[in-house]
């Protein structure tokens, strides 16, 4: 792209208008861009133009930068003007190597707007109107009131918000699903992923597709089909009902499994997994599980003993396994306060 300044002729163009509006002399005055850059005081319109090189080519950015520095050097006012001009020019013109510009653009694109290590967001006030993600989720799923809190306060948006309620809701759901999948992928990024078809004649659906995530001794098994079904069910509005049914089904089981778990905690099937766990730890674990209403499929994130920054995730496919894995982990983490551990919801 050629510099627009060179294409302007006698007729007042947009560039001239811009210059005039900003208080600069028009292009016809014989002042070019370099003049402004090199001139310490751009207000002095009367000063004669600096001698120009015979054939001024497009200068490389480094050279231009040097000129800018030289121009900005003497005084603070010059620097201020230089900053204004350089930002204005950077927005208006393409100066310099195209490859560098592309690289810069690519770099700009690649920078992720999300946190590299997102923290678990805890919302203290349920009716909070803050724009945090969980509040937004609640608003979207809860109804119109919550949704209003999400939408900008402009009148245009508020009227549109009432009209396009289902669309917004879908968008919010999509966004939430995206958040979840992003969290999922970041969580299991370091795991090896294998999709398998499992035949189990004792299961109601004897043929199912599972995804196995594996990292060392930690295994995560996800039901691939169940996720799709869940989405469909959520769409139909039966997910909540099913979840409550599942809870009711698991509640009487919890007592039994607790008793089983106590036994299971004392030994293990893996040579590398600790075999002995103290009674106190068991109690703490059990109380933790019951108090935090942990469910099967939830993951426990907690700092490892090696480093506080390293997080270890345990996702259990069943309540029993959760109990077992958590117990193994707790044994490793003996002496640490369980209450500081974060529990992320099932996704």
């Amino acid at each position: 792209m050629a510099c627009p300044a060179t294409t302007v002729d006698s007729a007042p163009t947009w560039l001239d208008r811009l210059r005039t509006s900003k208080g600069f002399p028009p292009h016809h005055a014989g002042l070019d861009l370099d003049h402004f850059l090199l001139l310490p005081n751009p207000d002095s319109n009367t000063s004669p133009p600096l001698p120009r090189p015979a054939d001024p080519p497009l200068r490389p950015p480094q050279q231009l930068q040097r000129h800018r520095e030289a121009a900005a050097g003497p005084g603070g006012e010059g620097k201020k003007w230089f900053d204004i001009m350089s930002s204005a020019l950077a927005e208006l013109f393409h100066m310099g190597d195209t490859r560098q510009l592309r690289a810069a653009r690519a770099l700009k694109k690649k920078t992720c707007r999300k946190q590299p290590n997102p923290q678990i967001c805890v919302v203290s006030a349920p009716a909070s109107n803050s724009g945090s993600c969980p509040a937004g989720e609640r608003g979207a799923s809860g109804g119109g009131g919550g949704l209003q809190a999400l939408s900008p306060p402009s009148a245009e948006n508020s009227t549109a918000g009432a009209k396009k309620w289902p669309e917004d809701r879908t968008k919010a759901r999509r966004k939430r699903a995206h958040c979840r999948s992003a969290a999922d992928s970041s969580d299991t990024l370091t795991y090896s992923r294998t999709e398998v078809t499992v035949i189990d004649t004792s299961s109601p659906s004897w043929k199912s597709q599972k995804i196995i995530f594996r990292k060392g001794l930690v295994w995560k098994v996800r039901d691939r089909k169940a996720w799709n079904v869940c989405r469909k069910k959520r769409k139909l509005g039966v997910a909540k009902r099913l979840a409550s049914e599942k809870e009711q089904e698991e509640l009487p089981l919890a007592g039994k499994k607790e008793a089983l778990g106590k036994e299971h905690l004392t030994s293990s099937n893996e040579g590398t997994v600790p075999k002995i766990i103290s009674q106190a730890s068991c109690q703490r674990l059990l109380s933790f599980l019951s108090l935090s209403s942990l469910q099967a499929g939830d993951s426990i994130s907690c700092p490892t003993s090696a480093s506080k920054n390293t997080m270890l995730d345990i996702v259990a496919p069943s309540l029993y396994e959760l109990l077992y894995l958590a117990a193994c982990f707790l044994q490793k983490e003996e002496g640490k306060g369980l209450w500081s551990y974060a529990v992320s919801p099932k996704y």
Binding site: S192, T194, T197, I199, S202, R214, L253, E321
Partner: protein
């Protein structure tokens, strides 16, 4: 790009023509089910070429398919509807369309011999892709139509099973034996995604967990999990485990051993399994007491049915015996399931061919015995009680 005008109509017409052709071919077939089965075999056996035809002893039906004609006809009747419902134009290299019997024969030969698609195709005069497609359609039909041959027994059947187990070595109230075998696969080691399939013996394999009844019938199977998962993990993730933990399986009548002492329903497993109230494993450790040694001896003799059943499965259906060359890991579990169903059908049909096979219990050669240290306190007590009962009666 938008759809081409009239494409739907054209496709419909093509489908109609295909259906008509298939119906005409089926009507013109000499070896159709309605006719005398002997005619079909006479005709089919003449079409067998290559090594299979010249080999000694391959002149009879049983030697080629390892099942009797009665069982073969039953299998054909099971899958006939499914195979007929979808129009196909499977033909021999001579252009002759394949009948239902032909298709079942090709699929059974592929599953039972474990020969390559090329070898099977050459033997029956057809393209290897035809063999592959015919076999897969048969597998799909069998898993739907034959699944009732592989199910957990009802209360009445369970009573028979218990008494048969007791007859073996006196173990009371035993409902089955559990065991695991590995279906070996040949996968490229350079692909890091294949490491999950590497088992503890450094082979690529898929695991088959099965619960067997005293007649060597599969009563419950779990397959598809990669070889790196150990027996306990597979058991834990199975529907059977969940049902037992919920008290919805192995919850039948308890048997009274002596006054005030009774034993619940249970299955038997080797030392690779955890000791649970419903899963009894042998005593571990050196120099066991006389009662424990006796229990272990009876335990081994009783759960031998599981080892034999798995050995026979691999012996009969050689596709799961050898090292499969880069199989589709989503299709393999379904093939394994169909082999188990076919295994059960042979037993249910009281096929005499099974008696001709030698009894072996080596199903996982090269795999060492695994040990699981996990045990349940209550299970300890009931196993102790049972060993005392078997050794010389429980003290009053």
């Amino acid at each position: 790009m938008g759809p081409i005008r009239g494409m739907k109509r054209k496709r419909r017409q093509e489908k109609k023509a295909e259906k008509t052709a298939a119906a005409a071919a089926a009507a013109a077939l000499p070896g159709e089910l309605g006719q005398e089965p002997a005619d079909w075999w006479d005709d089919f056996s003449k079409r067998i070429t290559g090594a299979l035809s010249t080999s000694k002893g391959f002149d009879s039906f049983e030697s080629v398919f390892k099942i009797s004609r009665k069982t073969f006809n039953y299998i054909c009747s099971l899958v006939k509807e499914d195979l007929m419902s979808r129009p196909s134009n499977f033909t021999c290299t001579s252009g002759r369309p394949l009948s239902i019997n032909d298709q079942v024969a090709v699929a059974l030969r592929r599953l039972s011999s474990g020969d390559s698609l090329l070898t099977v195709g050459q033997s029956f005069g057809m393209n290897q892709s035809t063999v592959s497609q015919v076999t897969w359609r048969f597998v799909e039909a069998m898993e739907e139509r034959g699944l009732h041959h592989l199910r957990w027994p009802n209360t009445k059947e369970m009573e028979t099973i218990k008494s048969k187990f007791e007859k073996i070595r006196g173990l009371p109230n035993c409902c089955g034996a559990i065991d695991t075998t590995h279906i070996m696969m040949c996968l490229p080691s350079v692909d890091p995604s294949n490491t999950v399939w590497v088992d503890y013996e450094k082979h690529h394999s898929m695991v088959l967990q099965a619960i067997i009844d005293p007649e060597m019938r599969f009563r419950d199977i779990v397959t598809g999990w990669p070889g790196s998962l150990n027996d306990f993990l597979i058991l834990q993730n199975s529907g059977f485990f969940k049902l037992c933990e919920k008290g919805m399986r192995l919850n039948g009548n308890k048997m009274e051993l002596s006054e005030g002492s009774e034993v619940r329903e249970y299955i038997l497993g080797d030392s690779g399994y955890p000791l649970l109230p419903w899963l009894l494993t042998p005593f571990q450790g050196k120099d066991p007491t006389a009662s424990k040694a006796e229990f272990n001896k009876r335990h081994l003799a009783t759960r031998l049915v599981a080892q034999r059943a798995l050995a026979r499965l691999k012996q009969m259906w050689k596709i799961v015996q050898g090292e499969m060359w880069r199989p589709d890991k989503h299709r393999l579990p379904r093939i394994i399931l169909v082999c188990c169903i076919l295994h059960n059908i042979i037993i249910d049909m009281e096929d005499e061919v099974r008696d001709q096979l030698p009894l072996s219990h080596q199903h996982d050669s090269g795999y060492r015995q695994q040990y699981c240290s996990f045990s349940d306190k209550n299970a300890h007590a009931s196993r102790e009680k049972l060993s005392q009962y078997l050794f010389g009666g429980l003290p009053p």
